[in-house]
C-alpha cells in the first residue's frame, strides 16, 4: 500500500473525527484542564490528576511560565506546580494542543494513558538569571498519531525518564520553529517519537529506556531519526 501523504492523513483524521462524533453517544465533554483544576494535592504533588478508565479527555495543558516575545522576558507570575497525571487507561485527545511543562523547576509525571492529537513537551532554560529546568516521567503511555512528536525535551534532560511507552505513527506537521532565546532556540523536524534538543551538555541526559516505536509507513519506519532525534 502506498504511504499516505500528510494531507491525506490530516483529511482522514478529520473524517474519522466527524464520523466518530456523528455516531457517538453524546457524553459530557470533559477537558484535561477541568480534571487538572479539580485535582487535589496528594502524594507529594500539588495536583494529583486521576483520570477515569473508558473516558476521553480533550484539550491540552500548560503548566509553568511562558516567554513573552513582547517583553522579551519570562512571565514570572506562574511558578508552576508538581503534577501527576495518572491515566488509569483514559484517552487524552489533545486536539492539536500540548501537555507542556514550561520553564519551571517542577515535576510532571504521566502514566498509563493514551495520548493522541498532540504531544508532551518538557521545556526549560538555564541562564545567568534563571534555573528553570523541569523534571518528570512518561511511563506506559501509548502515543497514537501524536502531532509533532511523542515527547519532546527542550532545555531539559537530567531527571526525566521515558519508559515502556508505545509510539505509533507520529505525524510530521512541518518544521517546528522555536525562536525563544539563544539558550533554547532551536529547530527540529517533527514526526519523531522522542526528540531531545538543545545543549544537553547543559541539561544532562534523560533516561529513555524500553520503549517501542513504529510507523505504518515502512520507509519512515526504517529511518532512525523518526524514532529518536537529538540536536
Amino acid at each position: 500500500m502506498p504511504a499516505p501523504t500528510k494531507a491525506a492523513l490530516a483529511r482522514s483524521l478529520a473524517f474519522l473525527l466527524v464520523l466518530s462524533l456523528a455516531h457517538a453517544p453524546q457524553a459530557a465533554a470533559t477537558t484535561l484542564k477541568e480534571a487538572f483544576e479539580a485535582a487535589p494535592a496528594a502524594n507529594g504533588y500539588d495536583r494529583y490528576v486521576e483520570l477515569e478508565n473508558g473516558r476521553t479527555y480533550t484539550g491540552g495543558l500548560m503548566i509553568g511560565r511562558v516567554f513573552s516575545p513582547v517583553a522579551n522576558a519570562f512571565i514570572l507570575d506562574e511558578l508552576g506546580l508538581d503534577v501527576a497525571i495518572v491515566g488509569n487507561g483514559a484517552v487524552l485527545d489533545l486536539q492539536g494542543e500540548q501537555i507542556c511543562m514550561s520553564y519551571c523547576d517542577k515535576r510532571l509525571d504521566i502514566s498509563d494513558c493514551v495520548i493522541t492529537g498532540g504531544n508532551v513537551r518538557f521545556r526549560g532554560d538555564n541562564d545567568f538569571e534563571h534555573q528553570l529546568i523541569p523534571v518528570g516521567s512518561v511511563t506506559h503511555v501509548t502515543f497514537y498519531r501524536p502531532h509533532d512528536y511523542g515527547v519532546r525535551l527542550q532545555g531539559a534532560g537530567t531527571g526525566i525518564s521515558i519508559e515502556r511507552c508505545l509510539f505509533i505513527d507520529v505525524l510530521d506537521t512541518g518544521v517546528d520553529v522555536v525562536p525563544t532565546s539563544g539558550f533554547s532556540g532551536d529547530l527540529l523536524p517533527t514526526g519523531t517519537a522522542v526528540a531531545a534538543s538543545v545543549q544537553t551538555g547543559d541539561y544532562g541526559t534523560p533516561w529513555v529506556s524500553e520503549n517501542w516505536t513504529y510507523f505504518g509507513d515502512s520507509a519512515i519506519n526504517a529511518e532512525p531519526l523518526h524514532h529518536f532525534s537529538f540536536l
Binding site: 500548560m62 507570575d77 503511555v141 506537521t173 512541518g174 517501542w212
Partner: protein, 478 residues
Amino acid sequence: MRLVDPAGGDYRVAPGFKAEGYGCLSQSGPATPAGAPDQGTPPAEGVLVSGSQAQVAGLIAVNTTWAAPLITVTDEVQVAPQAALTIAPGVRVQFAGHHRLLVQGRLWAVGTAQDPITFQPAPGHEAAGWDGIDFLNTPAALDWSRLEHCLLAGAVADTSGAVVSGPLVGGTHRPRTGGALSVVGGGRLAVASCVFRDNRADHGGAVFCGHGASPVLAGNLFHDNQAQVAGSVLHNVYAFPKLVGNTLVNNRCLAESAFERCAAVDNFNGKVMLSGNIIRGNPTNHYSGSQLTECKAFYVSDCNIEAFSGGTDNLDLPAAFQGWGAHPYRLTAQSPGLDRGPLDWWNPLLAATDVAGAARVAFGARDLGAYEYTGVVADAPWEGPQTAPLPVACVPNPFNPRTTVVFHLAREEWLAVDVLDLRGRRVRRLAARRFAAGRHELPWDGQDEGGRSLPSGIYACRLAGARGQTTLKMTLVR
C-alpha cells in the same frame, strides 16, 4: 493493525503483537468519545441593570444582566470567577475612559444581526480608546462564555511597548497585547459572527491569546485593526486558538522595518488552527508581505490566504468582495470561496447567522469567511464603513518613465497605494499611510523597490483601504 481498533477508541495492543506490555496497560475497552461541543447555556439572569441607561464599574460578584440600552463603563469592571455577566441584545456598552472588562467568570453577550451588542469608546474618549475585554484564567469547568453578533471597535491596548501593570496569572505585570480581546489560559470561549474593527495594540491589533488558551473564533469579520509591531489581527503565544470561517481583511502592521515580525496572524510557540478563513489584503512593510507568521501548514486548511501555498486545500485567489454598501466584505457570485466551507467540529460553535444576518448555510453548503453568499444584495443596517467608488487617475497614461497617481478622498482614511505587475506581485509601494480628505498626488518614477527601472508593459496601481480596493491600469512605454 497492531492496535485493536484505534478508530473506535480501543488503543489496546492487539494480542500477539510484540509490543505487548508497552504503552497504556489499563484500558479495558473502547473509550467513550468526547461529546461534540455545544453552544453553551445562557447563565441565570441575576441582578438586572435596566432603565434607559446606566453607569457601571467595579466587581461583579453575582450573576448580573445589563439590559439598559446604554451602559457607560466608568472604571474597570471585573466579573468574578463565580459570577456571570449577561448583556442583552442591542445594548450599547461605551467606555468613558481607558477601562477594560476583566472576565474571570462567564460573559454571555449574544446579540443578533439586527440588534448587535456594541463595545466602543464613549463620545470624547475615542483617542484613548477603551482597554478591551480580558478573559483571564477563567475556570475550565465553567460553561461556555460567548460573544455573538457583537461589534468591538476603538479599543486600544498599550502601544508604548512598555510592560504595564495588570493582574495576570499570579498577579503582577504583563505586556499589554490584544486590542479588543485578550484570552489568557482558562476555559471555554466562543466568539462568533462579531465584527472587530479599528482596534489597536503593539501586538495583536484585535486579539491576543496566551498561556494555553484555546478559544474558538468563528465567522467573525476583522478589518481595519492595527498592530504597531506584529499580528494586525491576532498575536498568539503558547496558545491554541481555533479560527474557522472568519474574514481577515485590510488590517495593518505598522512596523517600518522590512524584517520585523508582523503578519495578520502572528504565532509564537503556539498552534493556530485555521480553517475556512479568508485572509487577504492585510498590508505590512515586511519584505515578504506574509499574512501568517509561524503558522504551521499542518493546521491550515480550506482557507483563502494571500501568498500562502502550504496546508491542505487552501486557495490563493482574489476574494471578490462586494466592495460597497454597509457590508463591503460580503461575498459575490464571483467569490472563489462559495460552498467551500469545511465541515469540522467547530461548526456547532458558529452562529446560526452571519454578520449580516444571513443563514450560515445557504444552498446546502457553507462559504469561506464571515459572510454567506445568498444571492441577495440588500444590506442590513450595521455600523460599518459607508463606501463609494474611489476616483483615481494616472497622469499621463501611457507614460515614460514618470507618471502621477491622482485620487480624491471625501474623508480622511488610511490607504495603501501599490504598483503591481501583471502577475499581481507588488513591485513598488508608493504609500501606506493615513491621507487627509481632498486631492492627493503620488508620483512614480517607473522603478521598483530596489531602484531598478522596470521594463515596458502594463502595470496596475492598487489603492486599498477600508472601503475596499480600486485598481487602475497604467502603461509604461519606454
